[in-house]
Symmetry: C2
DNA sequence: TGTACATCAGTGAACGCGCGTTCACTGATGTAC
DNA sequence: TGTACATCAGTGAACGCGCGTTCACTGATGTAC
């Protein structure tokens, strides 16, 4: 395949059509999950023939990968755009958690795509890992100045060892929360705990498991976040 | 369809074949997820023709439903079989959490089937709701005697209202943790928090999201569980 | 104890469906001289 | 400014696949007298 131009009207049109294809794909995803994503149906929705899609995506998996990348990027953008109340890390944590949940609740199928059951046969390329990290980056500075509860000590120890071993991660943490190694371990531990706490409430909520139960996802998330903030003695 | 006998050699054989079909189905599920579950392939694996399966399951959805029911029942059994260390609710909570995680890690595809992305088009029958509750029942007495942290107050309030409104749930909670209405609200709140905490750590672990990270699912779960126990001042 | 009958497991052929993907092509659009 | 050429979007036909499910049937197994 020859080198494709990255500017000019043709490239613009190409990008636009790619976006339309992904939009249609997301609509199908929202209706019937990954299994419902069919190139033929997308083509029909856009008023073009099936094979035409192969001008834009090499295969179904290629399209799926693009959707996953986009979802990570969008989630990261949503979290990054969370307001900073300016009243300390605790309030900031709530703002981040709310932003993340709002994105997930607003686009549940995309959350599932990214954090849910892994798509069988699809293995994420290394670039995706970076996108995944971008979602969590804003949480690092929140916890950097915290004091982790004794109960988290074993996790902190594992994370500390990881940071000592993996330069790339250490650099990433340092970029997000520039401080000494101990603060880095605290920051990353808090972030990982926050990640799992968020997934616990949001994942169940989005899967519809709270239906018929007395609590709301929002209240539950707020409480869990507050407890986590307590565990790190956040101001 | 005529009434089927529930005893006798034919009924026994029938049950056995049903079990073999479900086993084969689970094997496929483990390999390629829900999408890979195909009646034809199951039949081939059992050395019989495709249509023969319709003697045992009315449809693909029927089989899927049976698998889901079984998974709930198995998970409930695994949690119920958790040892009671006898040294108070905190140790008991750890035992329950570990039992739940062990089951999930041992049979990740079944955990996904039950707590993961909902299968598109499949809606659980009401009986399944009861099975789902059975998994959580052992957690109720653990939290009944706890003192919930102030941060959980909004959740407790919602749960209290729910218990006042929904007799079936109130009865279920009372059966698990026989005590007054306030202890019931505490027990159910703790159980719901535990549920989401467990899903947060286990769900991510099983989806493979911890790969390449420094912490183990076990350590993370223990820490999260300990923090939750702290939040309820468990002994 | 033997026989007639009902029940039920299982078969093979067939149907219709939707899918991913390939291929040879047509026509429009942009580009180089 | 005009023309020849290259590039690229899109088409229609076709392939092969695997699937869920139905149907009329055959043969074995259990049951009632």
């Amino acid at each position: 395949m020859a080198e494709a131009r990255t500017t000019g009207p043709r490239a613009r049109y190409r990008e636009q059509t790619r976006a339309e294809i992904k939009d249609a794909a997301l609509r199908q995803l929202a209706e019937g999950g990954t299994a419902a994503l069919a190139l033929v149906k997308i083509a029909k929705e856009l008023g073009m023939s099936g094979p035409a899609l192969y001008r834009y995506f090499a295969s179904r998996d290629d399209l799926l990968g693009a959707l996953i990348d986009d979802a990570y990027a969008d989630a990261a953008a949503a979290v990054a755009a969370a307001p900073d109340p300016g009243t300390g890390p605790r309030a900031r944590l709530h703002a981040l958690a709310t932003a993340y949940r709002d994105w997930a609740v607003g686009e549940p199928h995309r959350y599932q795509l990214v954090q849910g059951t892994p798509t069988p046969g699809y293995t994420a390329p290394p670039e995706t890992l970076a996108s995944a990290r971008a979602v969590l980056a804003p949480f690092l500075p929140v916890f950097a100045t915290g004091t982790p509860a004794p109960a988290t000590a074993p996790v902190v120890a594992q994370i500390r060892a990881w940071l000592a071993r993996d330069e790339a991660v250490a650099a990433w943490v340092h970029a997000g929360a520039p401080a000494g190694p101990e603060a880095a371990a605290t920051a990353l531990t808090g972030t990982v705990l926050a990640w799992s706490t968020l997934h616990g409430t949001i994942g169940l909520e989005i899967s519809g498991h709270y239906t018929g139960m007395g609590h709301t996802g929002e209240t539950l998330l707020t409480a869990q976040t507050e407890l986590l903030a307590d565990s790190f003695a956040l101001a």
